[in-house]
């Protein structure tokens, strides 16, 4: 079974998307970043959800979104970036190791994918290509772009 969660910091302001480029530019867009975890698992979903709330979420500062659909609306596009499978992802290793150390879990983790999602908000002056060029390292990253309802 598959369970996807996205975590959004509610205190994080929108940042100027142009600052993500090597040569900062006026893009007319802002950016919000979320953490995204995709679990392939067997066992009880409510136990996995409890794990997410107690381990991955900071209830004081973060909102949890438990669905495959994006947690924000009205974006021009979003860019998902994660490490290629097989590369050493230390955050993933830390989470996996913690899951293995728990004796009380009644769910079993089969695979975990950890990534960052960058939402580009507003009706921008440019498309995703400059951001892919400057934010993605094709040697180590996989990435995906999805266009939203706002026009670019």
């Amino acid at each position: 079974m598959r369970h996807i969660v996205e975590i959004l910091n509610r205190f994080q302001p929108d940042t100027d998307a142009g600052r993500l480029l090597y040569t900062p530019a006026d893009t007319g867009m802002t950016c919000r970043t979320t953490r995204r975890y995709a679990f392939q698992y067997t066992g009880r979903l409510d136990s996995l959800q409890d794990f997410v709330r107690t381990v991955l979420l900071d209830p004081i500062s973060e909102d949890l979104h438990e669905a495959a659909r994006p947690c924000l609306d009205e974006f021009a596009f979003y860019l998902d970036i994660s490490l290629k499978p097989g590369l050493l992802d230390l955050e993933k290793e830390a989470v996996v190791q913690y899951v293995r150390d728990r004796q009380d879990a009644d769910w079993t983790l089969e695979t975990l994918s950890v990534g960052r999602r960058y939402y580009f908000l507003g009706t921008g002056l440019i498309g995703p290509e400059p951001f892919i060029r400057d934010m993605v390292n094709p040697v180590i990253h996989t990435w995906n772009v999805v266009h939203g309802t706002a026009l670019v």
């Binding site: 205190f11 994080q12 940042t15 955050e91 830390a94 989470v95």
Partner: protein, 255 residues
Amino acid sequence: MEKRPEALLLKFPGTNCDVETARALDTTGFRVRTIPFKGISEEAILQCRLLVLPGGFSYGDYIMAGRLAQLKLEQALGDALNRFRDQGGYILGICNGFQILVKLGLLPSGSLIAHADGRFRCQWVKLRNHRPDHPFLRALPEVVEFPIACAEGRFVAAPGDAEAYLDKGLVTLTYEDNVNGSSAAIAGLQDESGRVFGMMPHPERFLTRAHHVDPDWAGDPDRGWGYYFFRSMYEELNPATEPEKSTESSQAMTL
């Protein structure tokens, strides 16, 4: 028999301020023992007078700063830190240690998150001392300087909580210039008992006058404020000691 009170430094994978914190404690009179997390036990904690969680990036700050250290501590020790506090022990968390103590729930509810501008900040800051009666702060002036070096040092809490902490006297230090956007400019907190103390700035990096970023700093002829920070706790735990205080003139001067 060694009369110096023992300070226990707990070192996680990724802790990187343990050496200078141990030096600060040793310089101010403590007997210091550094224990890697794998070797920690409740017995070791109960033997010391002051437990210190130094700064650094425990477990790489993965997930969020302090989270994995919190989970591992809870797994290994249960509520041993609560028992240690209830039996009269003091707990100090500096920077990443502060983040861990907040996550453990040993300090008032809140969270330390990325700075409002999203940047790592390494700079000297002026801080207001709100609890000059606290053993860590009683030898310090009303406004004191320490360096900060962190990316996730912005304290946030549920609406109204930060102001309530100020009213209840749980806020020990605030930024004079709120450099990271913390709620109520909070830079340091204590618990209700006063025995658990956390702060983002690094007192261990200001032991001598020469540590100050300004070579002409004249707040004290020899010592930095960090020396008095640790020394006054030493005097609290070792009451037979002659108190050392920063000079009247240095306390009165404008920093």
